[in-house]
């Protein structure tokens, strides 16, 4: 590798002795023989330091980079770029006021190493047009989208290609399609044959449906002998005649290239399948989904002096119904309620621990043991508490557990005599509570990705569904057996990270359709406005991602539920309904029956919403819905600013005209 500049005016190492202490550095000049280099080059940077009289000083300088990984600069000023692009090199005298300089470098990108294209096949039909996608990889292994790709064919008379890689065949013959980036090219040889397709048919399975229903368009091309042409190129498209044709709407429907169609507006839609020389079409009638239901207010267990966090509703061993709620940024209190009559919830006990936040509360399956998380302890030993809730009117502490859990425990779950506790946002610990007075750790699970973090864990059927911010959802066998896991030996099953990378909560859903979805909820900060002070509601952002995990090794994100200008938080699924807390967007109930695709919010799948306004709330009249739990026909939910609420979905009423 060439050394482009060996000029060193201050010595080989930038760490030079302070020889002229009496003279104060006031200026530094960073220089380099070149401001451009290539990946792998070595460039020696130099620096000269001067005092106020212009005398050169012999002092220690420090070189550094705007991007340490892609544009590393050693302490002695040797620059060895690892990636192409524009970067800044800096130098400074740490011990002097504002003695600092910089240079902008343009680093040549490495040459292209590899070009590939897709799709490819053996034959190509006259009259067909297929778009090809190229992938360019440079010598550093980086995928490069900035390198121009030139498409060509060996015989434009046989087939021509446009600048987007769309190859169109004109007559029979052999043709080579090439994609070239810099000096590297990929090519594929096609045999262009006469179009064998004699007929094209399209079926939709049904000719009418509701908004949000997924229809499967199936196009079949047959040759003159009635044989199916398996490699017929099919393009799906549609013509929309939505009932609501007001300008500025979202697209009223979509169809993908697998033929999956879904509409979000009622109307008449013509789905088309196109293959060379043939067009087949079917028109379907889409009606509104009509799933809305009224919500009746049932009761409110008000907590107005502090903010409320999570909730759990359970049937006590005495057969009555109880709730526990946590508090957030407050005084370390967990409240216990008798909600047997949800229209008249009664506070029956509370427990105060040394904490500011009891973020999460959970109760064991048998209704005897609760766990509450602790954050903000005055001695910084947070951990969790195991509680005896056999008599919720007289809750007792079984045990405090902070061994190795002094970091804030943000979320917990109880499953099969074990607590799953989020430890310091880095991993989950598994704590055995077969004897709840003697909890002890039996296992832990932590990702190994750089900068990993974890926010939540939820266990169903021996699988822990963990929410891991940028690492998305990770499924861990903690007793299911699919991977031989156990509480003491958690084993990863599968994972999926979405585009946004803010996974905060996850909930599994086995659909009656046979598909297995995991709903991944974001948590993001919302817009902030000047003047936003305490006493005004917070604003959150983010949405829920629906990931088809039917094949756990190949999960596919298929749908979203996004409430404009509100942010997702906790959720629950029961009977094909998603109960979703959307912070300032309130409580939402969503019909998730059937196959899911596209934007569920726009499809009219919302069954109900409830905005819990409390004029005397911690922040008055400001819904900030934290989490829901359907229970015995009622829907309980925690409100950040006003406590525990209960509502009930009313039967859908068809009005008589």
């Amino acid at each position: 590798m060439p050394i482009r500049n060996c000029l060193i005016t201050l010595g080989l190492l930038g760490l030079l002795p302070l020889a002229l202490a009496a003279q104060t550095p006031v200026r530094i000049e960073l220089s380099s023989a070149t401001l451009s280099a290539a990946v792998g080059d070595r460039v020696q940077l130099t620096a000269q330091v001067f005092d106020a009289d212009g005398n050169q000083l012999d002092v220690t300088v420090r070189f550094y980079s705007s991007a340490r990984r892609d544009f590393p600069i050693s302490r002695d000023g040797v620059l060895q770029p690892a990636r192409g692009g524009e970067f800044v090199a800096f130098v400074r005298v740490n011990t002097a006021r504002n003695v600092r300089d910089s240079l902008v470098f343009n680093i040549d990108f490495p040459p292209v190493r590899e070009v590939s294209m897709a799709p490819t096949g053996e034959r190509f039909f006259v009259g067909a047009t297929v778009r090809h996608q190229s992938t360019v990889i440079d010598a550093s292994g980086a995928v490069r989208n900035d390198v121009p790709v030139t498409w060509s064919t060996s015989d434009p008379g046989v087939a021509s290609v446009d600048r987007f890689g769309r190859l169109t065949a004109h007559r029979e013959g052999m043709v080579t399609l090439s994609a070239r980036a810099e000096d590297v090219s990929a090519s594929h040889r096609y045999r262009v044959v006469a179009n064998p397709i004699a007929t094209l048919s399209l079926t939709m399975g049904q000719d009418s449906a509701r908004t949000g229903d997924v229809l499967h368009a199936t196009a079949v091309a047959l040759d003159a002998r009635g044989q199916r042409v398996e490699d017929a190129p099919i393009t799906y498209t549609l013509v929309s005649n939505a009932a609501d044709s007001v300008v500025g709407q979202y697209p009223p429907a979509e169809v993908d290239q697998q033929g999956l169609f879904v509409a979000q507006n009622a109307g008449e839609y013509t789905i088309m399948a196109i293959t060379p020389g043939h067009v087949a079409q079917q028109t379907v009638l889409i009606t509104n989904r009509f799933v809305t239901q009224e919500v009746q207010f049932i009761g409110h267990a008000a907590v107005r002096d502090v903010k409320t966090s999570d909730l759990w509703i359970w049937e006590g061993i005495d057969g009555r119904d109880y709730a526990v709620t946590g508090t957030h940024g407050a005084n370390g209190t967990a409240y216990f309620w008798d909600v047997t009559d949800p229209s008249n919830p009664e506070m029956i006990d509370s427990i105060v621990v040394d904490a500011r936040t009891v973020n999460d509360v959970k109760v064991s399956e048998d209704g005897r043991v609760a766990v509450i998380s602790r954050e903000g302890a005055s001695n910084r030993r947070n951990g969790l508490l195991v509680l005896d809730v056999t008599n919720p009117r007289d809750v007792k502490i079984h045990a405090e557990f902070d061994d190795g859990l002094t970091g804030g425990v943000h979320n917990v779950f109880i499953y099969d005599d074990h607590i799953y506790a989020i430890n310091n946002g880095r991993r989950f610990d598994v704590i055995n509570i077969e004897d709840p007075k003697n909890p002890h750790r039996v296992g832990r699970f932590e990702l190994d990705t750089p900068g990993h973090g974890i926010h939540d864990v939820w266990v169903v059927d021996g699988i822990a569904y963990t929410s891991n911010w940028a690492d998305g959802v990770v499924l861990v066998d903690v007793g299911n057996g699919i991977k031989g896991g156990s509480p003491s030996n958690p084993v990863e099953i599968a994972r999926y990270s979405d585009f946004d990378g803010a996974t905060h909560a996850a909930f599994p859903y086995k659909s009656p359709t046979g598909r297995f979805y995991i709903i991944m909820g974001d948590e993001r900060g919302g817009a902030r406005f000047d003047g936003l002070q305490s006493g005004t509601p917070g604003l959150m952002a983010g949405y829920m991602h629906f990931v088809d995990f039917t094949d756990p090794l190949h999960p596919v994100e298929v749908a979203r539920y996004e409430v404009p200008e509100a942010g997702s938080h906790n959720m629950w699924i029961e009977d094909d309904k998603l109960y979703a807390a959307f912070y300032q967007g309130g409580l939402r109930v969503v019909d998730i029956s059937g196959e899911l695709k596209g934007n569920l919010y726009l499809q009219g799948r919302e069954i109900a919403r409830y905005m819990a306004y409390d004029p005397e709330g911690f922040v008055p009249n400001s819904p900030m819905t934290w989490g829901p739990q359907p229970y015995k026909g009622n829907l309980f939910f925690a409100e950040f600013y006003s406590g525990l609420w209960a509502v009930k979905l009313q039967p859908r009423v068809k009005l008589t005209q």
Partner: protein, 363 residues
């Protein structure tokens, strides 16, 4: 040749002081001080409060500044420091996903103008007298006990220049008055660490364990290192062994070790180095010591429990002290008159008031 010129740092005439006061604090303005302004971070409220102490009148809240990005999560503002030029203040947020961060705010407008992600639970932050850099200790309060680092950030670009590994659970760091050395403690390793600011390397380490101390775990558990304005000594709070230590910089030895009330935590000195002010986290008091003799001259109860941070005004007249409170209690700020050695004002602020940084004197 394109150059990016550093932002000119203006020396605030007579105003502006680093948090923790003492070392490097610029002189007080001419004239009799009328009021003192300083910032306080409330870790369990996600807010920073700008306070004014008016002589003869008391404490008032100038402004409450919400910090962090998630209204529904506690992000834990911990360390705060005003740039010696008085134009910006810096704040560490302990929690992230999972890493904490350093934020840069303009004074006056209190608008965030920069951010950089650091390590696990960055806590104490300080800026040398010449400005330009911030040293933030990645305390990793809650992670596994393993060596952690000090992040060094170029404040003009908000680029992290270096992470220098020091020890397990670093905390309580300040610069020497000449800005050439940076001192931090190691809560789980019983060490004082000196960094060479020019090279950003560890220059020296000093074992702070009491002579009788042995066995597993920290015995001293030092939580703060505060250099004297003379530069000759560094004072250390042994939070676990309830001691105050004086370390002579020249030969790097402990010159005295005296018992202190329960759990000394943070330290500040008057500019003349005559008084040492120590927060007693365990006993909810502030102790004041005569440095020249090692004699304790006052023990002043705090407004409530868990006394945390302290900064001394540049004129040496007042100590401003944060008090965390417990659970749902509000945090508090106490003002101690260092002449009369008594608490002269108290005001409530957000929960778990901790970091405190002096901004300026108004005359």
């Amino acid at each position: 040749m394109m150059r990016i010129m550093a932002i000119a740092a203006l020396l605030f005439g007579g105003a502006g002081a680093g948090a923790g006061a003492g070392a490097g604090a610029p002189p007080a303005p001419q004239g009799e001080p009328e009021a003192y302004l300083f910032y306080v971070a409330s870790e369990s409220e996600d807010e920073v409060t700008l306070l004014r102490f008016t002589v003869g009148e008391g404490l008032t809240i100038e402004k409450v500044i919400p910090v962090g990005v998630l209204p529904a999560e506690i992000e834990g503002p911990h360390g705060v420091y005003v740039d010696p030029d008085g134009l910006h203040w810096y704040l560490t947020l302990g929690h992230g996903f999972p890493f904490g961060s350093l934020w840069k705010y303009e004074t006056g407008s209190d608008t965030a103008v920069g951010r950089i992600e650091l390590g696990l639970f960055p806590s104490t932050v300080s800026v040398p007298p010449v400005g330009g850099l911030a040293f933030a200790v990645n305390s990793n309060f809650y992670g596994d006990p393993e060596p952690s680092t000090i992040s060094i950030i170029d404040l003009a670009s908000m680029i992290e220049i270096e992470r220098t590994e020091t020890c397990t659970m670093p905390h309580g760091s300040r610069f020497s008055p000449d800005g050439l050395r940076h001192y931090s403690t190691c809560m789980l390793d019983d060490m004082l660490v000196e960094l060479d600011v020019a090279t950003l390397d560890v220059a020296r380490r000093l074992d702070l364990s009491p002579p009788s101390g042995s066995g597993a775990g920290a015995v001293c558990s030092p939580t703060w290192a505060m250099p004297a304005s003379s530069g000759e000594y560094v004072y250390v709070a042994c939070n676990k062994s309830h001691e105050l230590l004086e370390v002579r910089v020249e030969d790097w030895v402990i010159t005295w070790r005296i018992p202190a009330p329960t759990a000394p935590y943070n330290i500040a000195l008057t500019p003349d180095d005559e008084k040492i002010v120590v927060t007693q986290k365990g006993s909810a008091e502030v102790s004041v010591w005569r440095r020249s003799t090692g004699e304790r001259i006052a023990l002043i109860p705090s407004a409530r429990k868990v006394t945390h941070g302290v900064v001394v005004s540049p004129d040496g007249r007042y100590a401003f002290v944060t008090v965390e409170g417990i659970g749902g209690e509000r945090g508090a700020v106490d003002v101690i008159d260092l002449l009369d050695l008594r608490r002269v004002a108290t005001i409530d602020v957000g929960k778990q008031a901790g970091g405190i940084a002096f901004w300026k004197v108004v005359s």
